[in-house]
Amino acid sequence: MKPMSFAWRTLRREFRYGELATLAIALILAVAALGAVATLGQRVEHSVVASAAEFIGGDVGLSSREPPSPELSNEAARLGLRTSTTANFPTVLFAGGKSQLADIRAADAGFPLRGELRVSDTSGVERIAHTPDMGGVFAEHRLLAALDLKIGDPLQIGDRTLRIAGEIQREPDGGELFALAPRVLMSLDDAKSGGLLATGSRARYRIMAAGEERAVADFSTFIKAHKPDSGELVTVEQSQQNLRSAFDRGEAFLRLAALLAALLSGIAVALASQRYARRKTDEVALLRCLGASANEVTLALASTLAMLAVPACAIGAALGLGLQEVVFAFAKNLLPVTSSVIPLAPTAASFAVGLAVLFGFSLPPLLRLRDVPPVRIFQRAAGSRVRRFDALYLIPFAVSALLIYVESDTPKLAAILSASLFGVALVSLVAGLLLMRLVRGARGFAGAIRFGLANLSRRRALSLLQIVSLALAITALDLLAVVGPSLLSAWRAELPADTPNYFLINIQPEQRDDIVARLKAAKAENINALPLAVSKLVAINGKPPRAEDYQDKRAAGWINGETRLSWSDDVPPSNRVVAGQWFSAHPAEPEVSVDEMWTEMFHLALGDTLTLRIGDRDIVAKVTSVRGVRWDSFRVNFFVLLDPASAQGISYSDIASFHLPAVSADALAPLTRDYPNLSLIDLNALIDRIRDIIARVGSAVMAVLGFSLAAGILVLFAALAATADERRFESALLRTLGANRRQLAQAVLAEFTVVGLLAGVIAALGAGGAGTWLARSVFRISTYLPPLMPLTLSIIAAAILVALAGLAGTRRITRASPLLVLRRA
């Protein structure tokens, strides 16, 4: 036999039967959802990197106290990279008898290498610009307001008088959130000739490079090998943590939706294959009877699947590409730097995953057809003996686990999803068995209802299959339609309207009361001021820490650098004690509260001691509590908090976060003018951007959700179709014996309402549990509570939907001539 030509011939006709169409649609949905999300994820990742490149003004660079050495520029030129050098330093500016501390950026003509510098002129018209020519500066609005200046006015910087050539509207700068404000941009040559960069200046230099990816990587290696002691490598990965975190969460949402679509498709494939295999059993028996070998049968079936899979996966891949293009077009305004190049690797991967889903989920029943004995052609019962355990049926579980692991991208998401779905399957299996025991005999019900309920235990295996697959499908649908949106809402709620949008740092203790009073007068909300002291971690449990002893590379930063600490009588907002006790009023010895991340990084436990050097004083403090800190709350937060009693006498400044409505923003200019030592950080742009991301991720999730819902409905129908053949025969028989349509409908309604109700309850519990688990562990939304009312409604909806779908499936049966059905059987 030529299995390929045999497969091709049969496929053409068999496509009409429904199972193969289900397989094809399931595959298309899975590949489209996975492909779209993976491609989108990669494009967004590229965009985030590109966006971060804009924020740091290049692809890679070196920041140091010394001017960059010529060999760096030479190497960059040799690698074909463009470079730009800047120097940042604080200085006091004078104009019209007023002065203002400003953060100066002196840049060469190449600045910025990435992103846009936008300045406006006197009429407010914006233009894209580069570094101003010698003799001119660009300044931020706050500086103009503080010094009462306008464009064209002179400004004294050092011993040079420069003219204000434009107002900075936007600059590639976000990499350094804590830069001093307000910003002035001037020519590097002016800064040099004005003596602002003389030896001993507080300038920090930065040479940035941009160009081809490989050259950038080579230059990065070169910098690492040649950087001075004070130098730090500047990379896109280090910047934009807040944005990245938002995108990462968004991607986790999308991956969750796509993954569920793929798993649902897998279930649909498994159910359809089961039915297809049943239909093919007699055919295989005939082929075996006519002399076909088991291998030929397997090859013919595999060829049929392959012929179905390749075009279905291709259609799915094309659909996925189309979908991601639509979503990307919708989302790209979020990021200033987008590439029109569509990465094809994720599409190819989703194609492969589609094949894996098909073969993984359909192989067990189809491979079992190898065992169909030829004698079945005479004796239908032959070969239908059920195996107690069949290792082949572990394949779909293995494929699911692999799929979850590969596609979820985070082991936590994979583990939670697997455990939840496995739990739902197990619980529904046990509950199904209990239900059958309960309804066996079904005494006390009217005839038709009793018959319907009794059907459950008569078709034991099929009923269980139906209950488990429906429970899984409804769980996935609940996760997507109920839990997903509520998670998104909870995420959105993390950035309420009064989220702190400004930081004030370097507040001197004697300035604090006045500043807080003025902020309150300006209608600032959520004012949260904490002391800030700088210490050095010199010992853990009495031993000096060594960076090489810790796997977490971030540990080196604290070991070699500074540790900022604070103290507070109460647990600060956005903090919660997860272990130990908060400080007592009068501790016997110094106590310290550390962030969870620190305990993991430094392997700390309650009772361990940290030695913190503050000035010339060493404080040995015992870890008495561990805090969970919401770092994305935009509030002042610290890894290390000291008990207030032990902090007596430590020199410090204050740091405050607060929310100031946009209409009151002008109140900040006099504040920074009156207290030139203050540094004001404006977080509005960042918060707006994150809000925008959440909104757009929500929309993108809804788009992927469409696929998942379609896959869920497909599973629903595949599950119902699984018993359709048998039910069709039974109904025909009952009608022949005199049952009317109403009685048949009652029986079907009774059976499916019970099945739908059971599956709905288990699914609601499973989805609610999984949602809470995901919220806490993956999305880090500690305040999340599953939406009880929608989940309760989903149970009712599941019962109604399943009952109606069952009824719809049976209507066709009851309308057909019983004789016809019996003959075909």
Binding site: R9, E14, G291
Partner: protein
């Protein structure tokens, strides 16, 4: 044809025996213990002969047919088919033997619904890797008078036409032996007669050895010999 008297074991020395059953028994495990379906059945069928197996429902006719055709293995005894002992062969070897030497005709036709008449007839040749399957299938369909129906699918054919397609499929690869299980059981009398005529005509023209299981005594009488099974045992014997 030589055959056993009741349950006596008598091994044929007939060198021309196409099918030989020696002390063949078949039992299965049921919920209430072992059930003997066939007990010590012995007989030979000569090359080119025709044998009808008759008996009441549940007498073991179809089981015997399945064993003789190598579709199943006996619990005990020896079966030789086309000169090869098949009771000790594995399923794959028996399948290879069937492919080459055996044709089948079933009560419920067993045409593949996804293939048209011509493609159904091509099957045995394709299984044998023949490249001229289509030409031979057309000729076979011509022989059963269904030239005009070759592109029709089974559900577009009447019962008689479906069985004629099955006949064409049974003979298309020139099998040495044909096993037929109630070939007219699903047909009305008139159509059954037409199909029966065709069966014997093709059997004669192809010089095929025919083993036929039937309830239809008229059809059984057209065979050169018949055996009667009763409760899994040979009840009466006849000589070809």
């Amino acid at each position: 044809m030589n055959m056993a008297e009741k349950n006596d074991v008598r091994i044929s020395n007939d060198v021309e025996a196409e099918i030989s059953a020696v002390d063949v028994s078949k039992s299965v495990e049921g919920p209430e213990g072992r059930i003997d379906i066939l007990s010590s059945v012995n007989f030979d069928v000569r090359k080119g002969a025709s044998l009808a197996i008759v008996g009441a429902s549940g007498s073991g006719k179809t089981t015997l047919l399945g064993l003789l055709a190598g579709l199943d293995t006996p619990t005990r005894g020896e079966i030789t088919l086309a000169g090869t002992r098949i009771d000790a062969l594995d399923e794959e070897s028996r399948a290879a033997l069937r492919r080459r030497y055996v044709g089948f005709l079933f009560q419920s036709f067993h045409l593949l619904p996804a293939l048209n008449a011509e493609e159904n007839v091509m099957l045995p040749l394709e299984l044998d890797g023949r490249s001229d399957a289509r030409e031979h299938a057309r000729a076979a369909l011509h022989d059963v008078g269904l030239d005009a129906r070759r592109r029709h699918y089974p559900h577009q054919l009447s019962g008689g036409e479906q069985q004629r397609v099955a006949l064409a499929r049974a003979f298309v690869h020139r099998p040495r032996i044909l096993f037929a299980d109630e070939p007219t059981g699903n047909l009305d009398q008139k159509t059954g007669r037409v199909v029966g005529d065709l069966l014997f005509e093709l059997n004669r023209s192809h010089a095929t050895t025919l083993v036929l299981v039937t309830h239809d005594l008229t059809l059984a009488q057209r065979c050169a010999a018949s055996v009667h099974l009763d409760g899994g045992k040979l009840a009466t014997a006849a000589h070809a």
